[in-house]
């Protein structure tokens, strides 16, 4: 068997794929965080909990209502988005005039509530969620086997990221959105309903998290704790990339996923901490982040 640096090539590519899969989740989640941050100036700590909610909804839908994967891939993000809209209308909108830290604290409290609620209802243990039959099995690429579902995660995540980029950068709605991010008062004066856009932005951002959750459901165990550790890594990703550009978030997310995967091959002990180490290095040499602007 072919080897690279003493590692079998199959294991290497396998970890590379896993890294890309994780990177896709980092990309979608950090993209959602960036979109929300741009508009609301709030770091959404509840993002991980809402990602978990998306996955739990997919599982609940199948377990109790018999709704399959494909329907839930559409329904769960909408539900999570509606939850987000409720959160924005009922709570977040009262905090915009205050220090941004209050938004972080509020969403942290919400994250605890959501996580605790699911833990109380379904216990800590993860539930299995089977891969939809269309994606059972693997492609044989000659040098490795590529599980179809992993390929789907990467394709779906990148499509969603690119679509988001297109809407924000290339459409009229996106132009309004960017204008409202730049100068909300002036945009409002031009007759655009900024509070509505803020509400929809938050709903959309957390909807992305819900979407990522459903995507993740068949790839890992579905459990109440799946979001909280992930969100801390995503925070590090966001610090590394900076929240200035959409494509920047996507590239950073994918890149860090790959690096993490490679670390698992060559230095397994460090795989849990490598993203944080990179963050420390970036802070030393480029405090604003790779794609961030110094304010």
């Amino acid at each position: 068997m072919t080897e690279i640096f003493g590692v079998p090539i199959q294991a290497l590519f396998g970890q590379l794929m896993l890294g890309l899969v994780n990177g896709s989740f980092y990309a979608v989640l950090s993209l959602g965080l960036a979109v929300i941050f741009g508009m609301l100036n709030i770091i959404n700590f509840a993002h991980g909990a809402l990602y978990m909610t998306g996955a739990m909804l997919a599982w609940i839908g199948l377990e109790y209502l018999g709704i399959g994967y494909w329907w839930m891939l559409v329904l769960a993000p909408i539900c999570v988005g509606l939850i987000g809209i409720a959160i924005e209308r009922l709570m977040l909108q009262w905090l915009y005039k205050l220090d941004h830290l209050y938004g972080l604290l509020l969403t942290f409290g919400l994250a605890l509530m959501i996580e605790g609620l699911f833990r109380d209802l379904y216990g800590v243990a993860g539930q299995p969620y089977s891969i939809p039959e269309e994606f059972a099995g693997a492609f044989n690429l000659g040098f490795m086997f590529l599980p179809k579902y992993r390929a789907w995660i990467i394709v779906a995540s990148l499509t969603v990221c690119l679509a988001t980029w297109y809407v924000i950068e290339k459409t009229r709605l996106g132009a309004y959105l960017r204008a409202a991010t730049e100068n909300p008062k002036l945009t409002q004066a031009f007759g655009i309903n900024v509070p509505l856009m803020v509400m929809l932005t938050y709903g959309f951002g957390v909807g992305l998290a819900g979407f990522a959750g459903v995507l993740a459901a068949p790839a890992s165990q579905v459990g109440p704790l799946m979001g909280s550790n992930l969100i801390i890594v995503v925070f590090a990703v966001v610090v590394i990339g900076g929240m200035g550009s959409i494509l920047g978030s996507v590239v950073t997310g994918l890149g860090l996923g790959i690096i993490e995967g490679m670390t698992k091959v060559f230095w397994p002990e460090a795989s849990a901490t490598v993203v944080f180490m990179i963050m420390a290095v970036v802070l030393m040499f480029r405090p604003a982040g790779l794609f961030g602007r110094e304010k």
């Binding site: 709570m91 605790g116 901490t273």
Partner: protein, 312 residues
Amino acid sequence: MSRRVTIAYLLGLALLLAAPMFIYPILVMKVLCFALFACAFNLLLGYTGLLSFGHAVFLGGAAYVTGHALKVWELPTLVGLLAGTVAAAALGWVIGSLAIRRQGIYFAMVTLALAQMVYFLFLQAPFTGGEDGLQGVPRGTLFGLDLSVDINLYYLVLAIFAGSFWLIQRTIHSPFGQILKAIRENEPRAISLGYDVAKYKLLAFVLSAGLAGLAGATKTVVFKFATLTDAHWHTSGEVVLMTLLGGMGTVFGPVVGATVIVTLQNELADKVGSLVTVIMGAIFVICVLAFRRGIVGESLALYRRMIGQKAG
């Protein structure tokens, strides 16, 4: 210091001196440890305006170092406590000097992420005992007093708490503390006045980390074990909640907040199970939405309004 405040301090001290006669000393010691932890945290959040979301790692890190020093190296208790404190301050220096490169929300995210990294290191490092933690840490003796007797230990813990509390008060009211407040209120202006803001922030961070470490070290001696829970981000969130609930930027707020939260957790733990997290989250949400000055801050505001009405 006005006479009324002095009386309040003396009254509080007298209450604490007498407390173990009425309440289970271990519980009071736990409250004191977390109160010290919250006061140290408040020095950073309330007086410097820095929200650290990784303070648990100083509590947990010091707990491990002290546990290791007492159990494996068999050092005297005081030296063990000191070792934990110094280790936490050193860790605070490392994390602080990285984190102060960013401001505001980014600072919070950076501290959280770095703390998570240290958490994973604790999880893997051999000296922490991994998931099991360090158990059976001996309390030792102090000047011939046997600290395994709860009441003896209680007065040591109280002395540590009172001393640290005094130190924090002195810091807040010193010229150094005034500059910290200036940074909190308006960082660009503090820079324009010629203060080396980064240096002040870092010093505040190290001080806060060291005192949080002292709290963790003391906690290890009290409970005779050190676990991963102390270093987990949940604990970082808890100390934020204690400070927020009690009233950030107030002298007694963190003490009140810590007392309420620890008592609440103690009471609720066996009654509602995992719903405790939901309740903690709900308190967070309510505090942020409607109660931002916290218990002490709101009480002071109410008191001032009543005084104002009387005068008017």
